[in-house]
């Protein structure tokens, strides 16, 4: 028995090389260990440690723990596996060696025993010559029996196969019985091979025996036959201690059991050929290449560790079997210890892993959480990591960073607050200035504008009150134009005081020096006329800004505070802005007053002019009317028959009179148009009728010059809306001109109504209008060729008036002309015209 090696040894992979039943415990242990691992280690420990708050930190912890446990546990398991594997192999090897030694020992003893018997028998055989006397042989045999207790009977068979003598312990000696043994194997075999060993047989069904036959020397030598009691072998075998339950036994070459501690088995002539190892070992005697397994089963079917040794001369085999369970017991014990140690080691690894992981993960988690909180804006947060390693350093860095961030945040916030305040102030000021500008632009009420300016200024200057003064150039006195936050008492005091330019007060000084004057504390200021009144009104500080316009004094601007103290530069600049706005407003108001006055005067003048023109034209026309009337009556013979020369003169009077009337009418029209007083009498009219009227008025003229007057008027012209008389006037002017300036050819009037307008064209075949003149013909008092005026007559006002009348209708009048070929005047009028704004 080998003492089990006390090492950490465990394996599951080696289990396959071991007997299954033997290793059945290993997976059970492993399973229970796994269970322990999963349930206890993970669930309980993790829950106890409560690292589940942060998933990331938990992940890190699990990673660390798993890694550590895997490292430690893995190395433990690999170590144990290797140890177990080799330990098992070595153990088994040692056990087998021990058993083989035992078997060999036993084999040697048995062989020795048999050899001794053989030697003794041989000696007894060879000692006597063949013809020796029976007595001598008997004597020798008796001595042999005495010397070799194992030999129970010895006999001698002569070379003929006749038994000569038999000496037995159990029976009477037989001498010269002559029994024929010649056919007995013990004789035949011995004669052939000099030596013969019979199979084991039993006497009295209880003791194993074998027959040993040895042939003596010489050709006529007989055969000595000894019956050998094999009880000695049994003793040897029985005495052999093979573990607790192990046993040794001997089989002969046929596989029959020769010796076994259980004599019964021997007696039953148990054939052990059925056992694989025995059968193989027997075959190996003839074929050395075979392998005999070290593990097999005994006759009872139990697994055994087996070893054997052959007894060379006898072809017997000594087997030493040890039940595998017993043989492997130390290995089991060792394995169990190993597993326990492994389990403990793993448990320790888990605990150590968790502890280590925690040591590692907790600071990292604290770091992560702390960083997250700092990142989230909690700059007061400090990460609590005590370790003096890189994590601790990192935590310190984070804390430092948090502190710095907080510092910079604090200053940043302050800066932002400051800037925001400044911005909002600037915005406020801007808004106030914009409002003031708007007030200036939107209302001409100077008092309201100044009041608004003052209110904004006081608010922005943080002043309780203020005033705007206007300056009178003549009296050199200032008077209140607007006040803000002032008591009636103070206002009254100022009105009575009449601040003057020559005063030594701030108003006078600031305007005189054209500069801003501020009094930080009125109480310490030298006396001036209004000082006491202001002090009574609780004024302590004031700021006076001159109101100037191109260096001319317009007034003064003042804000007052109840607290002493100087005004900021920013406030002063702002007040200067308000002051210039006030100056602008005052000047605007003055200018506006002037403009209003002028405009009123102009209006009156214009009215006078219009009235004058109206009266004038009436006054001029009334006598002219009489002249023309009388002339016509005379022409018509109402004052008697006249001489032809007189009639001729009357025609000339009428012609000149009409020309004069036209001039008067044109001048009147133009002046009314220019005064914006020409209003249209909008009414429904028919263009065709207008054309007809004009044609009626001008056809005699055309006929006089033998000019065809061609009229093309569309049939489907709509009823128009406009001032029929004025439109007729325009058309009359155009047709009249055409006839007037055309000597040969024709005058053609075309009227259509495309696209919602009346399009009237008056075309002539006259001399045409040069390009340079074309833009000017619609101007007043203009004719293409001044020589023409005399020749053709006309005021030169007609086209100008016509154009304006057309434009009053919202229409257009233009000319297309080619020198030498004629001109076409185009008149476009909206079908439904409305009065447009006065055309100046």
């Amino acid at each position: 028995m080998i003492a089990p090696r006390t090492r950490m040894e465990a394996t599951t992979s080696a289990a396959s090389t071991l007997g299954r039943s033997a290793w059945r415990k290993v997976p059970i242990l492993a399973a229970s260990f796994r269970q322990c691992w999963s349930e206890v280690a993970w669930s309980n420990l993790l829950n106890k440690i409560r690292l589940t708050r942060s998933r990331r930190a938990g992940g890190l912890f699990r990673k660390y723990a798993t890694l550590l446990v895997a490292l430690v546990g893995g190395s433990l398991i690999i170590n144990a596996t290797i140890e177990m594997y080799y330990s098992y192999g070595e153990n088994r090897h040692a056990l087998i060696a021990v058993q083989r030694e035992k078997a060999q020992g036993a084999a040697a003893v048995i062989e020795q025993f048999v050899k001794e018997i053989e030697g003794q028998v041989g000696w007894a055989t060879g000692f006597l010559p063949a013809g020796s006397g029976l007595e001598q042989r008997r004597f020798d045999f008796l001595r042999l029996l005495r010397q070799a207790p194992a030999i129970t009977e010895v006999s001698y068979i002569d070379s003929d196969g006749r038994e000569q003598i038999r000496v037995s312990r159990l029976a009477m000696d037989t001498l010269a019985s002559g029994a024929d043994m010649s056919q007995e194997p013990k004789f035949v075999e011995a004669k052939a091979k000099k030596r013969y060993l019979s199979p084991v047989y039993f006497r009295k069904e209880s003791e194993p025996y074998l027959t040993l036959s040895i042939t003596g020397a010489g050709r006529s030598a007989g055969v000595t036959v000894a019956e050998v009691n094999l009880k000695f072998i049994w003793d040897v075998i029985s005495r052999m201690q093979v573990g607790k339950a192990g046993s040794a036994y001997v089989v002969d070459e046929r596989g029959l059991l020769i010796a076994h501690p259980d004599i019964g088995m021997v007696l039953r002539k148990t054939d052990l050929n059925q056992l694989p190892h025995v059968a193989l070992a027997l075959k190996k005697l003839r074929d050395a290449s075979l392998d005999v397994p070290a593990i097999s089963r005994d006759h009872a079917g139990h697994e055994v560790l087996t070893a054997y040794a052959s007894i060379g001369s006898l072809n017997w085999l000594v087997f030493v079997d040890l039940p595998l369970i017993e043989a492997l017991q130390p290995i089991y014990d060792s394995l169990r210890r190993t597993i326990i140690v492994l389990a403990l080691g793993l448990a320790f690894a888990v605990l150590a892993g968790i502890w280590l992981a925690r040591r590692m993960a907790v600071p990292v988690r604290a770091l992560a959480e702390g960083a997250a909180r700092i990142g989230g804006g909690d700059l007061d947060h400090r990460i609590e990591v005590q370790s003096r390693d890189e994590v601790g350093t990192l935590a310190d860095s984070f804390n430092e960073m948090g502190g710095r961030l907080k510092e910079s945040y604090a200053t940043l916030e302050q800066k932002v607050t400051d800037r925001t305040y400044e911005l909002s102030q600037a915005l406020d000021q801007l808004r106030a200035l914009i409002e003031v500008s708007q007030a200036i632009n939107s209302t001409l009420e100077l008092r309201a504008v100044l009041a608004a300016i003052l209110a904004h200024a006081c608010r922005l200057a943080n002043a309780g009150g203020g005033a705007i003064y206007t300056f009178d150039d003549v009296t050199e006195e200032f008077s209140l134009a607007a006040t803000h936050g002032m008591s009636t008492e103070l206002i009254e005091a100022i009105r009575e005081a009449h601040p003057r330019l020559s005063d030594n007060g701030p108003i006078g000084q600031s305007t005189l020096t054209r500069s801003v004057i501020q009094i930080a504390d009125l109480a310490t200021e030298p006396a001036y006329p209004l000082r006491q009144a202001l002090l009574r009104a609780d004024v302590r500080a004031l700021l006076a800004v001159p109101l100037l316009r191109e260096e001319r004094i317009i007034g003064a601007f003042m804000v007052r505070r109840r607290q002493p103290g100087s005004f900021d530069q920013a406030v002063i600049e702002l007040m200067q802005s308000f002051a210039s706005q006030s100056a602008l407003a005052i000047q605007n108001a003055r200018l506006f007053q002037e403009i209003e006055e002028k405009s009123r005067q102009l209006e009156v003048a214009s009215q006078h002019k219009s009235q004058f023109l109206a009266n004038m034209s009436h006054e001029l026309r009334t006598p002219l009317n009489a002249v023309l009337g009388y002339a016509e009556l005379m022409q018509d013979g109402l004052y008697g028959e006249l001489a032809p020369e007189t009639k001729e003169v009357l025609v000339r009077i009428q012609g000149n009179g009409n020309h004069l009337l036209g001039l008067i009418n044109d001048v009147l029209d133009l002046s009314k148009i220019e005064a914006g007083q020409l209003t249209l009498s909008i009414d429904d009219y028919s263009v065709a009728n207008v054309v007809q009227t004009v044609v009626s008025a001008t056809e005699s003229l055309a006929a006089a010059k033998k000019l065809p007057l061609i009229v093309n008027v569309s049939d489907d012209l709509p009823i128009g809306q406009g001032d029929e008389r004025r439109i007729a006037q325009v058309l009359l002017n155009l047709v009249g001109n055409a006839i007037k300036f055309t000597d040969v050819g024709e005058v053609r009037i075309t009227v259509t109504a495309p696209n919602g307008v009346f399009a009237v064209a008056v075309a002539d075949t006259g001399p045409g209008i040069p390009d340079a003149e074309r833009g000017q013909i619609f101007q007043e008092f203009h004719q293409v060729d001044s020589s023409n005026t005399k020749k053709k007559g006309g005021t030169g006002l007609g086209l100008a008036i016509a154009k304006r009348i057309v434009e009053l209708h919202g229409g257009h009048l233009w000319v297309e002309s080619e020198l030498g070929k004629g001109s076409t005047f185009h008149l476009e009028l909206p079908i439904r015209a409305e009065q447009r704004g006065a055309v100046a």
Binding site: H618, R621, T622, P623, L624, L628, Y630, D636, N665, S681
Partner: protein, 124 residues
């Protein structure tokens, strides 16, 4: 029967011209120099036509026309307004006052006669 025309006109020259023109044309003429007289004469003489100047002393032509036209017995008498060319809107005003026709000053005696004959055709 000779048609009777009331001429309301403050200008003597115009009255002379009209008198000569219309008498020669075969009409009886009654003359007034202002609106008030005109209305009174219209009431007393019941003319067949009234030629009404607009710019009249005492009472202008518009008012005189309104009075005539508001009188049930007179309103059937046609009133031809003789207005100044210079003052635009006169025609509209004249029509608003109840004038039946409109002749612009300075009028041509022939044109005026033509207009009168529209209302009072002379036989022969």
């Amino acid at each position: 029967m000779t048609k009777r025309i009331l001429v309301v006109e403050d200008q003597e020259d115009n009255r002379i011209i009209l008198r000569r023109l219309l008498s020669n044309a075969g009409y009886d003429l009654i003359e007034a120099v202002n609106g008030e007289d005109g209305v009174a004469l219209a009431l007393s003489t019941r003319p067949d036509l009234i030629l009404m100047d607009i710019q009249l002393p005492v009472m202008d032509g518009y008012e005189a026309t309104r009075r005539i036209k508001s009188n049930a017995e007179l309103k059937s008498i046609p009133v031809i307004a003789v207005t100044s060319y210079a003052l635009s809107g006169d025609e509209a005003k004249a029509r608003a006052a109840g004038c039946d026709a409109y002749v612009a000053k300075p009028f041509s005696p022939r044109q005026l006669l033509a207009k009168v004959r529209e209302y009072l055709p002379t036989e022969g």
